[in-house]
Symmetry: C2
Subunit: 247 residues, 2 copies
DNA sequence: ACCCGCGTTTGATCCACGTCAACCTGCCGA
DNA sequence: TCGGCAGGTTGACGTGGATCAAACGCGGGT
């Protein structure tokens, strides 16, 4: 089948937003939907949006009307308060949803910023609610996604509340590793999309502490770091460090 | 209308679980429902359950099938990991929902423990999903509740990630105060239902640090504490301490 | 190829909170 | 009434991570 066999129609289909031909459908909202249900989901995922590195997808205080599924790229969400403090509340990658925080008050309660050039599908929330009233599977899956976010947050609370610096970083790296793996990338070698400062903010540490922890892991042969390039050499070692180290 | 005018039927109605005559209906799931919708919600809130102080409502790992609305009492939720660490992830009071964490994996991911004698309404989750497919208002309200939980968790992350001990305690007390107020109790004077250790776990501090912070607030005239009895004397002072104190 | 600037690394010092330990206090049961 | 004890307070001391400061090195622009 030579390239010339690609019709205009096919080219259009390939470009247009559609869950049914998105290779993330096993990762994203459509999980478990039947073909005909998937077609209906296509209808509501109307808008696709590209963002350059550093661009805001939404800002705290802005009106909420859509949630966003990440098609490609990498984001962070953060909260900031008047006195200048800010807390990175999460890093989101391909297939994950952004904007769930906005549902409660119809206003976004954090900022979402692209850490690399990215693309998202905007899903008007009222449409999603409408469709999930009709498609049980979609409804249930959406509830699971929200619940998973709550569970994840509890994990971060545990991390921030009880772990020491190196344990936090180990937990962070293992989590990233596992998520890259789930997306078909190497769990052992990846590029960090965020700065030491952003990692620090997420982990409740200063960038110097993060940097030192990286250096220490390297000394101990747990991983190889060079700037933002990380190669994990000893996953069990990291895991042990994360759970054990008490007293 | 003398007491004898209370019929058996009315007495029964007063006792039986029913959102439509629950005085929490403005606080709890039924918010915004029409009378006829409220009646339908009554049907699904089938079971009421009493718990004594210290009893578990559910445990981490247990199968999930219901969420719970607190009718009266006070709870904590916590997560614990093998090595003995535990993190209190929240304190819940009248009108709040418990169990949202269980939706994601059909298994509870934390423990819920009554901190005083309490009563909850069990809401079978599949029924709730069913009904919320029919009642838009209920669906939307439920989504808001879940989203609010996410936003709350972000607030705790901010607290754990960026605040110093006294700021954390101030934030905690102001939050409690505001929630008591919303329930018609005094925002200035209340009894803590939890120990210093539990507060510490929630705030990522040791009980000694919590105790010292209390003493310091007392010295500074911000509040009067005696054991678990707290009287807030200077709300603006606490608020200032919470947001300002940088450098 | 060079320079400039930001993100990162590394070192020296400081301090908030943790740790350890003693003591206090209100409560409950005998 | 008393004794025991769990929870809370207070003090002395240690330490992990923050802070301050300096130097490094990579990437982008000219």
């Amino acid at each position: 089948m030579p390239p010339t066999a690609v019709t205009a129609r096919q080219a259009f289909d390939a470009i247009k937003t559609a869950c049914s031909n998105c290779n993330l459908r096993e990762l994203c909202l459509p999980i478990g939907l039947e073909d005909d249900e998937l077609k209906r989901l296509d209808e509501l995922v109307s808008t696709r949006k590209r963002l350059k590195r550093g661009e805001y997808l939404y800002r705290s205080g802005q009106g909420f009307e859509s949630i966003y599924a990440i098609r490609s790229g990498f984001f962070k969400t953060d909260v900031l308060i008047e006195d200048g403090r800010d807390q990175v509340t999460g890093f989101q990658m391909t297939g994950e949803l952004l904007g769930l925080d906005g549902i409660s008050n119809e206003v976004h309660s954090c900022n979402a910023i692209a850490l690399e050039d990215s693309e998202v599908c905007a899903i008007p929330f009222s449409h999603l609610e409408g469709l999930s009233r009709e498609i049980h599977t979609l409804q249930h899956h959406f509830h699971k996604v929200m619940s998973r976010e709550i569970v994840r947050d509890h994990g971060v609370m545990m991390l921030l509340g009880t772990m020491r610096a190196e344990e936090r970083l180990a937990a962070f790296l293992l989590n990233l590793s596992q998520r890259f793996k789930a997306r078909g990338y190497s769990p052992a070698e990846f590029n960090l999309r965020m700065s030491r400062d952003e990692i620090g903010s997420y982990l409740g540490l200063k960038l110097e502490t993060v940097s030192r922890a990286f250096s220490r892991f390297q000394e101990e042969g747990l991983l190889a770091v060079h700037q933002r390039k990380v190669r994990i050499l000893d996953t069990p070692g990291l895991r042990k460090l994360m759970t054990h180290q008490r007293g």
